[in-house]
Amino acid sequence: MRNALCDTLISLYKQNRFLFMTGDLGFMALEPLRAIMGGDFVNAGVAEQNMVSAAAGVAHTGLQTWVYSIAPFAYARPFEQIRNDVCLHDLDVKIVGNGGGYAYGYMGATHHAIEDYGVMAALQNMICHIPAFAGDVLPIARRMQQTPGPAYLRLGRHEMPVEAVLPDYAPWRELLSGESGNIVVVGPVVGQVYQAVQSVMAKKGGSFGLWVLTELPVPEIPQGLRESIVQHPEKPLIIVEEHVAHGGVGMAICHLLAKLGASPRNFRHLHAAGYLKGSGYGTQQFHRKQSGIDAESVELLLGGLV
């Protein structure tokens, strides 16, 4: 998605000027953007706190500003700067974190972002975007550019099989319809869930409604999904996200359902487990497996529900 972002920002910059600041990252990815933007592309150095506050200052002058780093360095290191300087003032600063969830794998836990959108969504005026597919980057970035105010963009990898038919971007999308239960997935890990659903259907039959969500705070639950949950509380409802449970979409959806008076009786929340003591560190897939959000683990769960 990083290359998709570069192409997207080049396209957007040609239409509307903005400032882009990087925390000294973007090698073999952002060079074309730098070439196009000239003085509007600033390497702010390894200094994320200053980068975010300075971005707020620039935005205050009327120039939209995007800041970019590896996800934890973009949202966790400068958290107070995002809270005080960007969000309290409702300034037009777009924070881009590359490598959401466990995407940086064996680079280590310091490079993972498994509590990012929960933390960001807790901030006043902040909107979080978690593109699920590479094709989401352009419409989401365009929407961010056209919507003044703070936003956080969590980038990952496009993981869907090439044969999958992907509907046009929307914050909520239904990828598959089905009767055996509903699954809501956040971000690129939907590729794992999609594989699991296809495998279960091929081996055991059944069918699942598969929804992908890409925005927080969670927009209103679509009518079809809402009715399915409310009218069939016995149906499994499964939330899958590469994010810790606290502050995640699973909790947010429970909150929305509670307000609707809905009470699904078979609710499963599959989420990032963090780091299990004594288990070591590894690839993104290693950590997904530990968390039960890889294709195999999800398939095992779904197979038991059909």
């Binding site: 600033v42 506050s53 200052g57 205050h60 300087d85 003032h89």
Partner: protein
């Protein structure tokens, strides 16, 4: 504005500042009194309509409010709301509602980066104006300040002037007791490529001379270190750490007013 006129305005503003803090039973008066001379001079003499003042040491909000009041940019009615429920005049600035209070500050080490961003934005947009940012000496212990000084110099933000209220006292000790390697401050700025002037922060002549000097150009970034006294002008407050925190009782307030030159 000449020396006598400024001193008259300063006395009137200082009395209003004391009254404001007394009515609110608010603390932080010591750091407000160390900063007031410079903040007021910036507002009554130095800054033009295109210029900005960013109060990075947000705990001196009273000095900013009183200076805006002295220049007619805050009304007496607004000042009376200081720290009250529903007021926009909190003990640390809440920004965005008044052009003279652009940012919410109070957590130290933020204002200088915000100010740098404004300065960069104006350069990119080819807008006129100069940004003045007041910091405290203790604040310089926040690492983000040095990120900002590097950034400002790297990007040639000669439309930015940093002022440091160097009263030598911080939250729980003297600067030399808490962070001696920070001293002398001027050398640190020089090491980062900044031009530094050190002046008496309570001398109109010194402040005027430092601030009337044309702003930097050619990528020169400028810092003015203000040698100040915490609680300046009130004998029992001067150079006393407790006046970072304490509100005045009736007797102390009356004495402070007398010493500043008002009628108690």
């Amino acid at each position: 504005m000449n020396h006598d006129t400024f001193l008259t305005t300063l006395r009137r503003t200082k009395l209003r500042l004391l009254k404001m803090h007394k009515q609110a039973n608010a603390g932080h008066i010591g750091g407000n009194l160390s900063a007031l001379d410079a903040v007021l001079l910036l507002h009554v003499e130095t800054m033009g309509p295109s210029d900005y003042f960013v109060l990075s040491k947000g705990h001196s909000a009273g000095a900013l409010y009183a200076s805006l009041w002295a220049t007619g940019k805050l009304s007496e009615e607004q000042l009376l709301t200081y720290t009250r429920d529903g007021s926009f005049l909190a003990a640390h600035p809440s920004g965005g509602w008044h052009p003279g209070i652009p940012f919410s500050t109070g957590s130290l080490g933020h204002g200088i980066s915000l100010a740098s961003g404004v300065a960069l934005g104006w350069k990119l947009l080819r807008k006129p104006g100069h940004v003045y940012c007041l910091m405290s000496d203790g604040e310089l212990q926040e690492g983000s300040c040095w990120e900002a000084f590097t950034f400002a110099k790297q990007h040639g933000l000669d439309n930015l002037t940093v002022l440091v209220d160097h009263n030598g006292l911080q939250g729980f000790g003297r600067v030399e007791e808490v962070a001696a390697p920070m001293l002398p401050l001027s050398q640190k700025f020089v090491a980062f490529g900044w031009e530094v002037t050190t002046v008496d922060g309570h001398s109109y002549a010194d402040l005027h001379a430092a601030l009337v000097t044309p702003a930097g150009e050619g990528g020169r970034t400028r810092a003015i270190i203000l040698k100040t006294v915490k609680g300046h002008g009130v004998s029992f407050m001067e150079d006393k750490m407790e006046w970072h925190y304490l509100p005045m009782n009736d007797e102390q307030y009356e004495q402070a007013v007398r010493e500043v030159g008002g009628a108690s």
